[in-house]
Amino acid sequence: MTKSLEERMAIVKDLIFNQPVQLMTSPLKAGTLKNKCIGDSRTGYTVQLDNLSYRGVWVSTIEKINLKVDGEEVPQDTMMLCLKGMKFPLCDTVSHTEVFWGATDTCILSVNKIGGLSKGEHKLEIEIYKRGDFGHSYGEGEEGYENATEFHTPTLYKDEAVFTVE
């Protein structure tokens, strides 16, 4: 083998321990960043989110979404999730326990920002913290939930992409 032991070990450790959570699609849907234009007013921008599982998911399992545009953190109180004709402030997704984000439903992250984004390229970075929809633990209501470790720590899904605003 031409590679040293240290080089090989580094490659193998990266493959075993450092791989991101694999999704069927990237959370930031390509080509969907655009400004919110109402007549001649621009009140912000939107980007579509792609599905986060092999099936549809409950909106209430989304615990937090962080978004950066061109390296700058987007304030939480400016963002909404838009799904099935409904809009939810991001700070309150966990309370929407009866809203199902179907596998092929369009889900839009909407950001309020006077003037929107300038024309040209923008880099978006997103972090989505989400509990599993189901797991192997079981119980009745709160009974035994303390042992349901799969629901205690949300999984982090990360994505980044460069978009062009026309």
């Binding site: 083998m1 031409t2 590679k3 032991l5 090989r8 070990m9 490659i11 193998v12 450790k13 493959l15 075993i16 069927m24 699609t25 599905n51 092999y54 099936r55 549809g56 409950w58 209430s60 399992t61 615990e63 966990v94 326990t97 199902f100 179907g102 596998a103 092929t104 509990r131 599993g132 929809d133 189901f134 797991g135 192997h136 633990s137 079981y138 119980g139 009745e140 209501g141 709160e142 009974e143 035994g144 939930y145 349901a148 799969e150 629901f151």
Partner: protein, 333 residues
């Protein structure tokens, strides 16, 4: 042998918008299945409350391809509420709702999950009877028939002795070890691949202790990189106390499989790789098919390929075709 294909197997392309529902039904027919399974929250538009219009269109679609709708797969989504599981009222009403839709769409089996709980399943029996469906709990690895919750379910099946309650056994509950393709992710120039294949085969087909397998790696020219791969990717599924699973390797629970067959009308023929000679290294299909024949199993077996979890080198449709051929060959023996 009655073949089914779970449309879930096409999920990767479906979720990416590369296949439509019609595409996957067409492929299912072409691959030789008589029936199919749908994962409701994946491909049922409007789930959990699909429209009458959508359901009628769906029925037209599967009639077009002369396919039987067999299994409607539903979930117990315990993650839905932060801080608690579902309560019984939610599990009951949610499952009845899904069983009604399954019936409307023509499915005969409704597959749920163990988190439904036996006491709730018992209360659902009159609804399953009324609707004429078979409500079944999926037994999925790393659970096994001896896992306490499944022993409770088995007691319920015995007590009720009803064709409307049962189990969908998934062959992941009976694996002997990881598939050959588990090593595909590692480039040839970072490990001793042939040696690791030998170790994987020995792990799957013998009871040589893992300490001795590790010593074998080092004695036969391997090094700590190979040991790390073996520990993380080959010596898997040994002990999982939470699931109640103790040991598979050469001891999959054949007796438990035989016992539960009496309550089974549908099963998930899970696998990760079938080779061109129609062998599946990681699951002893010949022995399980032999038991199915001995017990006169007349339900469906679904081909459920999950090989892309380990390797993207193989075409999923080719793999499905090989799995069906393998099952037919074993059934004819």
């Amino acid at each position: 042998m009655k073949h089914s294909i779970t449309l879930y197997g096409f999920g990767y392309h479906y979720m990416r918008g590369e296949y439509t529902l019609e595409d996957v039904l067409k492929k299912t027919k072409k691959l030789g299945a008589q029936g199919f399974e749908i994962v409701a929250p994946q491909m049922v538009e409007g789930h959990p409350n699909p429209s009458e219009y959508w359901m009628e269109s769906f029925k037209e679609l599967y009639h077009k391809y002369d396919l039987e709708p067999v299994c409607y797969s539903i979930y117990i989504d315990s993650g839905k509420h932060k801080g608690r599981f579902l309560n019984e009222a939610e599990r009951l009403t949610g499952t009845i709702n899904e069983m009604e839709y399954a019936k409307k769409m023509g499915f005969s089996v409704v597959r749920s999950q163990d988190a439904l709980l036996p006491k709730t399943m018992e209360k659902l029996l009159p609804y399953a009877q009324e609707l004429g469906v078979h409500l079944a709990i999926e037994l999925h690895g790393p659970y096994s028939p001896s896992t306490p919750i499944f022993q409770e379910y088995a007691e319920l099946f015995e007590k009720k002795n009803s064709p409307h309650l049962g189990v969908v056994m998934d062959y992941s509950a009976f694996t002997s070890g990881p598939p050959a393709t588990v090593l595909d992710q590692f480039p040839d120039d970072v490990c001793h691949k042939d040696l690791l294949h030998k170790i994987r085969k020995l792990f799957t087909t013998t009871e040589i202790p893992t300490e001795d397998l590790t010593k074998m790696i080092l004695d036969e020219g391997g090094d700590e990189v190979d040991v790390l791969i073996a520990q993380q990717k080959i010596y898997t599924g040994l002990i999982n106390e939470k699931m109640g699973t103790v040991y598979y390797r050469t001891h999959p629970d054949y007796d438990g499989f035989r016992r539960l067959l009496k309550w089974s009308k549908y099963m998930h023929g899970k696998y990760w790789h079938v080779d061109e000679d129609l062998n599946c290294d990681e699951i002893n299909y010949p022995e399980f098919v032999k038991i199915m024949k001995e017990e006169n199993y007349d339900g469906y077996i679904a081909s459920e390929y999950e090989g892309s979890n380990f390797s993207m080198k193989y075409n999923d449709e080719d793999q499905l075709a090989l799995h069906i051929q393998m099952l037919d060959k074993l059934w004819r023996k």
